[in-house]
Subunit: 114 residues, 2 copies
DNA sequence: CCAACATTTCAATAATCGTTGAAATATGGA
DNA sequence: TCCATATTTCAACGATTATTGAAATGTTGG
């Protein structure tokens, strides 16, 4: 990923509502999610939402397709991966930026780490 | 890392000059780099640079210390790691966002992956 | 103390951003 | 065709952003 594209993608994610939208799209998976459903879930005005969708699409972070009256938005995982790749390659010390899998709170006294 | 902090960090990196500054700080390592040297390297006005440093510091992505007449800025790798962690945990499908080590061209026909 | 150097502070400016309300467009069903 | 639904377009607005120039601050060495 080029620096220019990275800046655009970062800017697209660097906003509260938009980050929420993208996270929701990620949860929704490749199937995507209707604009209306997103608007309702996040309590955002539909026109505001369109504005944010545009930003995400221009950054290559989302796609749209029409399905009936609804517009279905979906995350572009490829771009997100490229962004994370760019950050780890360019903005980390080469050490330790690859995320240690700490996401799940490591089930009380669970397995001894390998 | 909290969502709020993630947004702040993303915003800090979502600007051309500032991303350049941060990358330079990463290259400089924990020792850091003098404001003047950065200004010269990136051809930025010193006051503009101060503005960007502030953003990076407020995002927890940089620290300053005085050394003689110079202000030495250094990257906060901890925060950057946390940001990458947040992104991979929250904004990826759970699959494949952990960067495949493609940065180094994978030493010709290296180890077979476990 | 004074001069130079390194950087910050401040005020001003143009540009971009996020949100709103009103109106337009597209689709599907009665 | 007419209506309701789903979403976008458009113009407006206040807020924030990045940059500039001028002046202030802090530091070192003579």
């Amino acid at each position: 990923m080029e620096k220019t594209d990275a800046v655009t993608a970062l800017a697209a994610l660097a906003q509260d509502s938009r980050l929420d939208v993208f996270r929701l799209l990620v949860q929704a998976g490749p199937e995507g999610m209707a604009a209306g459903a997103i608007a309702e879930t996040l309590d955002l005005a539909p026109n505001t939402l369109t504005f944010h969708f545009d930003r995400l699409r221009m950054a290559g972070l989302a796609t749209v397709r029409r399905e009936g009256r609804s517009m279905i938005y979906a995350a572009r995982f490829e771009t997100m991966n490229a962004l994370v790749g760019f950050l780890t390659e360019n903005c980390c010390a080469g050490v330790s930026c690859a995320p240690t899998p700490s996401s799940k709170p490591a089930r009380k006294r669970g397995k001894i780490l390998a």
